[in-house]
């Protein structure tokens, strides 16, 4: 029935602009149709065609809303939003340039102070992406918010790498920060799964995260000569054991539920 309703709505919505308002309305109607069909089936109506027709007639009149949506000029709301974004961006850039000039004149360190502009741009992009990810997650979307958060984490890592490298001049060591990018991305995935209460994803991400994080910690501490390579390879072995424990707990919990 879901497919049939979906196809019906796709036909009715054909030709409408692909705006958030239109897609939200389509999805809302689909939800309503599914509610109605479940209710009819629970009441004993088993004929699919009859259920389909009753459901469609229950939303009769929605075409008037579509007419309004069709006649809307391509959305002044979105133009206003874009103008606002450009304005905020300009103000932000002006502030950055102001801070850059002030710091440069005061310290005289022009060779490094340009980092303020670069890092400031990174921070701005990260904030934008995180806001859009939070909005996406709140409206139940998963893929785009995840991509936005991964991109934010990547930018933050790159920003950290550039900052540490240029300010401290330790290029031979600072590349290790980039080695941790997969760890940070996996950690983000764990946080998303926890926030959205997706237990299976939380489990899967944790199982992947633990050994990779352990391996990265081991490699970087070994390379930096904070720890010796032997016997600290045991860190990785411990991670595998921790993974085994997590898997066992998860399977047990699943079995108990059944």
């Amino acid at each position: 029935m879901f497919k049939r309703f979906s196809e019906y709505l796709s036909k009715e919505f054909r030709g409408l602009p692909n705006s958030a308002e239109v897609t939200d309305f389509r999805e809302e109607l689909l939800g309503s149709l599914m509610e109605k069909s479940e209710e009819l089936k629970a009441a004993g109506d088993t004929d699919d065609n009859s259920v389909f027709n009753k459901c469609i007639s229950s939303i009769n009149g929605f075409q008037d809303t579509l007419k309004v949506m069709r006649s809307k000029p391509i959305i002044k709301k979105e133009v206003a939003k874009a103008a606002k974004t450009v304005m905020y961006f300009s103000v932000y850039m002006l502030v950055l340039v102001g801070v850059f000039l002030a710091v440069s004149f005061v310290t005289g360190n022009w060779g490094k102070s340009w980092l303020i502009i670069v890092e400031g741009c990174f921070v701005g992009l990260i904030i934008l992406q995180m806001l859009s990810a939070a909005k996406g997650l709140a409206s139940g979307k998963i893929i785009l918010p995840r991509l936005a958060l991964f991109s934010s984490v990547s930018l933050a890592t790159l920003g950290m790498f550039l900052g540490v490298s240029f300010l401290m001049g330790i290029w031979a060591k600072s590349w290790i920060i980039m080695l941790f990018l997969p760890v940070f991305i996996l950690l983000t995935d764990i946080i998303i799964a926890a926030v959205t209460h997706k237990k299976n994803e939380l489990f899967a991400s944790t199982v992947v995260f633990v050994p990779i994080a352990a391996a990265m910690v081991y490699v970087s501490l070994g390379y930096l000569r904070v720890l010796s390579w032997h016997p600290y390879w045991l860190i990785v072995l411990c991670a595998v054991i921790v993974d085994a424990v997590i898997v066992t707990f998860f399977i047990n919990a699943k079995l108990n539920k059944k």
Binding site: F2, G31, E38, G61
Partner: protein
């Protein structure tokens, strides 16, 4: 008595606001709630509800978020905003006055209105 959606004309938004002061809800539930409370005398088209939602959301009276629905579909939940609460309080007061005037005009009474 035949079902009649005219009873609600002009009050749909206030009714929706009132229902949302109790709890967040979604289109199908709100529509069902109105029809079920109407004792068979009131009918409302889903399309009317959805049109009202669009308008109220644009006016900042409602906020929305998605939740799980049935059969793979999602529910679009509506929550009343602070502005919506203020408007509801005004409309409620307006209705209380109007109700006594209508009582007087339709039923007739000695009491002052």
């Amino acid at each position: 008595m035949a079902q009649n959606s005219d009873f609600l004309r002009g009050h749909t938004e206030t009714i929706i606001l009132r229902l949302l002061t109790e709890k967040d809800s979604y289109g199908y539930e709100i529509s069902k709630n109105i029809v079920d409370s109407g004792q068979g005398l009131v009918d409302i088209k889903d399309a009317t509800i959805y049109t009202a939602f669009r308008r109220m959301e644009n006016d900042g009276l409602l906020a929305t978020y998605w939740g799980d629905g049935v059969g793979g579909a999602r529910r679009r939940y509506y929550a009343i905003t602070e502005k919506g609460r203020r408007l509801y309080a005004e409309k409620k007061e307006e209705w209380t006055k109007l109700k006594s005037i209508l009582d007087y005009l339709i039923i007739g009474s000695d009491k002052n209105v």
